[in-house]
């Protein structure tokens, strides 16, 4: 399975939010912990709806959580 072009900063953002656990984030956005694991590993590109829910959970705009292709901020 090739790496997805949609990347994210979820792991870093969780850490910055009082070390939020994967389960806590999963509960907040209404998915299972497995999905958060897959997202952080870059094994899954979320639906637009889930991407927005995750961005809202961190109280950030979408583009600060997700990026397309190479991450220019990293």
């Amino acid at each position: 399975m090739g790496k997805h072009l949609v990347g994210n900063h979820i792991r870093k953002l969780r850490f910055n939010q009082d070390e939020m656990t994967q389960q806590q984030l999963a509960d907040k956005v209404g998915v299972t912990r497995q999905t958060i694991v897959a997202l952080e590993k870059g094994n899954y590109s979320p639906s637009l709806e889930l991407a927005f829910r995750i961005a809202m959970a961190f109280d950030l705009p979408l583009e600060e959580v997700f990026f397309y292709g190479e991450d220019t901020k990293a």
Partner: protein, 148 residues
């Protein structure tokens, strides 16, 4: 390893265990009469219907036992809903499983064309059912580990 990965492995092993134990029970009961007697047809009909029933019950029992063991060993509650990733993986598993069964079905029909005994057709058909179940479980395991 997450709940879904463990569950895929358990369903893979339970599929093999259920099919093997059922075959071990049923194969010695194959009627000794003619190749296409009424008893032989009744035997194959019973084989398929009872396998479906036995398989459903055994899967439910194994799933309940697995959930209890999972809760006790990890002290986590299993997810009680399927999210978008689960649904996507289920769709892919169903597609591959369906493809495997259709392939087996065509092979079974092919065996009739080349004048093989009816038993061969039934064996291929039942084998295709088993292979399709294993294919579905393997697909789930693969996508939960490697991504979609």
């Amino acid at each position: 390893m997450t709940y879904q990965e463990k569950k895929s492995i358990v369903s893979l092993f339970s599929a093999v265990l259920i099919f093997a134990s059922y075959c071990l029970y049923m194969v010695p009961r194959y009627p000794e009469e003619g190749l296409a007697s009424a008893d032989t047809f009744r035997y194959w009909g019973t084989f398929v219907l009872m396998l479906a029933l036995f398989s459903v019950i055994a899967h439910i029992v194994i799933s309940i036992i697995f959930n209890i063991v999972y809760r006790v060993t990890t002290r986590e509650k299993e997810p009680n809903f399927a999210d978008e990733l689960d649904k996507l993986i289920d769709l892919k598993a169903f597609r591959n499983s369906f493809f495997a069964f259709i392939l087996g079905f065509l092979l079974a029909m092919g065996s009739l064309v080349v004048e093989q005994p009816l038993a061969v057709m039934f064996i291929i058909l039942i084998g295709a059912g088993f292979v399709s179940e294993v294919t579905g479980a393997l697909t789930r395991l693969y996508h939960y580990r490697k991504g979609v």
